[in-house]
Subunit: 269 residues, 2 copies
């Protein structure tokens, strides 16, 4: 990416960063950092720019997630993470909903304070190995038995990249249940506008002074742009060359990785 045409970046005061595929590649082994990303996070903080991680990660609590990132060398805190589970808890409380959870075991503690007796909705996360036929059927039977089924999905990603290859994400299972029950899920997480607005509120910067950096052309780039942000796609993580011909979404710029994005942005300031 040439540095020409980045004049708009001069107004930037804060960055929203996707995590998996931008900071690190996840995997059964815990994942591996993407070269230059830990240093890039340090440089963002040293520059005075604000930083918030905006992730659809639902395989662990934020506490656990941040511990893992810190062990990989990332200088981040729990308060710097905007994630779907806490946003879903707010929504459940507001509407008096009692969820049946089909989520990863390690995410369950995020819902510790929520009444889960006699469920009147289903909350779907990236349950990974918990996506058995028996578990998906249980969620299906609950939904199809409701007069007006309520399905809340923590993200709608198609797939993500782990160290040993691409993996199905929660969106695929959301579509399965939507079809089986003839309902439309409510998405909490990227690319939902309300979720980006929460992340911006936590960042403390208005949309027009924020840049989203992510590897997902639809959830990260498209979602952020619809909220009035600029958005960059990194060529790491789940990025595929065909993304550059996406019929609907065009990033404000492509960068090879987070380190390059930070280089160029800091040069504009």
């Amino acid at each position: 990416m040439a540095e020409r045409g980045w004049g708009w970046a001069r107004a930037v005061r804060g960055l929203l960063l996707d995590v998996s595929g931008v900071l690190y590649d996840s995997g059964a082994d815990g994942g591996v950092p993407i070269a230059g990303s830990a240093e890039a996070v340090r440089r963002i903080k040293a520059s005075g720019l604000k930083l918030q991680l905006c992730t659809n990660e639902t395989q662990a609590t934020r506490e656990h997630f941040v511990r893992k990132l810190r062990a990989m060398g990332f200088d981040v805190s729990v308060a710097e993470v905007t994630a779907p589970a806490p946003a879903a808890c707010r929504l459940l409380r507001e509407r008096g909903l009692r969820p049946h959870l089909l989520v990863h075991d390690d995410l369950v503690p995020e819902f510790a304070e929520i009444d889960k007796t006699n469920p009147n909705c289903v909350v779907l996360g990236d349950a990974a190995e918990n996506f058995t036929y028996a578990n998906l059927n249980e969620a299906f039977q609950l939904l199809i038995g409701m007069e007006k089924p309520v399905l809340i999905s923590l993200g709608k990603g198609r797939y993500y990249k782990e160290t040993d290859g691409l993996k199905l994400d929660v969106g695929a299972y959301m579509k399965a249940l939507e079809y089986a029950c003839d309902v439309q899920a409510e998405v909490v997480g990227k690319p939902a506008k309300r979720f980006f607005e929460s992340a911006l509120a936590e960042l403390g910067v208005p949309a027009e002074q924020a840049i989203m950096i992510g590897d997902d052309i639809v959830s990260d780039v498209g979602g952020a742009q619809q909220c009035g942000m600029r958005a960059l796609q990194v060529r790491t993580g789940k990025y595929r060359p065909s993304d550059e011909h996406h019929p609907e979404v065009k990033p404000d710029a492509y960068v090879n990785n987070l380190a390059e994005a930070v280089d160029i942005i800091l040069q504009q300031l």
Copy 2:
């Protein structure tokens, strides 16, 4: 269902019958026959009407399936069964496709003669317990790695009824893979027109002289009507009262069960 308004049934020369939900309710215990259905099959045959079973059953070979039906008292033979797997084998041969199978273990023998080395498509059936996260990921990774992914789905049912409740059908998993890979599956089985045409050819009766009897408002009734057949919905199996307000499909008549359908049809002859 009153017997008035059935004048059109006088032209009938053959019946296509759905199986699960019409002849019997399936289940882990092998399933239970629906009252009066075995006798109804005998009466159809005694009347001289032709009969063909037109099923999306993909949890067993036709041989195994017919053995089970005969054990429940149904006088049917393998030649009287039109099922998706043999139709899929014809399609695979015609197009030189080598499938990766994500199907029920008991269906695998139907594909014994098909070259499955170095797969260039995925065939999806009602795999039930085989729908693990690992297996769905394997199918997904194969598809996403193809230049032009080919997904063949043996039916697209949303769910079916077993003796212990409603169960997710292959269509839900088809939607999951369609979304994850951004492809459209080719459906072999009801409601595909080509599949009904095969069943009519095997029945040996033109569409306008055939009646389809099924419990699925979309796959059975809608599919058959689009081929120019009359179609009845039984109030057994997965039938739900809300089907009677379906926005797109209206059966030629409702009947409480197969026995009642046969009673009324035979009275017209």
